[in-house]
Symmetry: C2
DNA sequence: CGAAACATTGAACCGCATCAATCAAAGTGG
DNA sequence: CCACTTTGATTGATGCGGTTCAATGTTTCG
């Protein structure tokens, strides 16, 4: 994945979205399309382990992930970490900034990541001015609802199903087609805390999937040998 | 609970919210406050077992429950019913009408219920006109997110904790104070399908809570003897 | 009253968590 | 570059909680 366009031209200094290939599909692009004066969207590189925000911080920024990967998580009352979601390229983090005063999750980079910061105030203002932009934001919220309902459903399935379902979800790109291989950016521990299982159980599920000839693993890389079988499980 | 105001005055025929005590706290009241010509909000009585909408129907109505109780549910691929939520007085059903074209759940009355139908088009239109109304709708969506996150957390707890946590949630009225007794409007089966457990496990959890002196049951009625102990569990 | 639906209780089984050990990969410092 | 440490992943053995199957008790309603 190339991030050559992070080198800032003088144009991009005023509007980082002007030289972004994804501007047409991104809330940031829409936010800066009818150009007001100052740069509203800011690009940033985030080191592995660095936080985008913490729970309780004033929710003043909507993040769009350009590259890399992040996770959102909370620490439950018993001290356990609950992973609420992973964000890859083109995903949003901190959507609660649209409808709440403060973040209720923590967000941290799983690897070196490239993100765009959209001021929540600008997003709200644009929502007021443009119903179509508002509908795009609502659509994002709607997708998040669907994802959460999916998580709830997964929580009622057996371990192998949870892992299979997760893989199917991850393999489906935003363009709709289904890839046959993937690099999982998160650790087994994070995946377990996302799926509501232990690392041991997740590990065993992967082993079983491999033994059945559904997939092959090489470290974080994961190749789907039998997509139909994977789909059938989830 | 009295529903005397369902008897329609000629005023109320044009605007059912004009004689509703809850109009000030209800999206319906806000929708009809700056009165346009025809009645936008329609009241209806829904018989037990009658559906408000089905999954796949065009999502053209936002429902507000005035009295009674409803549940939303989906039938998963394996034929099992998954209950996604219960709606009591002042709760909304069909929130997806704000951001989606069609409902993705079914909604059915658990008992004779009184509902208000808000046309989704009118809600969207008012959102465009009034940022504060828009923020109220967004706030509803935000609360739904919180509820879903709570459900996800509950899904990782033991059976007794799930039931205790559910009770605590139900006992907390929208005014913030905590009641000491409650009539559960849903069957054990529905509750089990909501909590991701079996009816037997839910039943045993209630029995254990009673044996520990936390609560007393008389049919659907549930009296909390030791609120502190209940809170401590959840 | 009698039937049907719902709720409760009991016994046995099974899947996941837990505890524990080994293995693999990635740094780190001499 | 190689020992050494550290971190993460895998595999194994055991126990427990919730499901499953089955029976009984309770409520509701024609």
């Amino acid at each position: 994945m190339s991030h050559a366009d992070t080198t800032v031209s003088s144009d991009a200094a005023n509007n980082p979205c002007s030289d972004c290939a994804r501007a047409g599909h991104c809330l940031g692009g829409a936010l800066t399309a009818d150009s007001l004066h100052p740069p509203q969207v800011v690009r940033r590189v985030v080191a592995k382990g660095e936080h985008l925000y913490h729970a309780g911080d004033p929710a003043d920024t909507l993040y769009v992930i350009r590259g890399g990967a992040t996770k959102t998580y909370v620490c439950s009352s018993d001290g356990e970490e609950e992973v609420r979601g992973f964000q890859l390229a083109n995903d949003a983090a901190g959507l609660e900034s649209v409808c709440d005063r403060s973040y209720h999750t923590n967000a941290v980079a799983l690897s070196r990541s490239w993100v765009c910061k959209l001021p929540a105030a600008a997003v709200r203002e644009k929502m007021t001015r443009s119903p179509s932009f508002r509908d795009r934001v609502l659509s994002k919220l709607c997708h998040e609802f669907e994802r959460l309902y999916g998580m709830l459903h997964r929580g009622r399935c057996a371990a192998d199903q949870r892992v299979a379902d997760f893989l199917v979800t991850q393999l489906r790109g935003q363009d709709g087609d289904i890839r046959s291989e993937i690099d999982l950016p998160m650790s087994r521990t994070d995946l377990a805390r996302y799926l509501g299982l232990t690392t041991e159980t997740v590990s065993r599920a992967f082993t079983r999937l491999q033994e059945r000839g559904v997939l092959k693993r090489r470290g974080a890389h994961c190749e789907i040998v039998n997509p139909a079988a994977l789909q059938a499980l989830s």
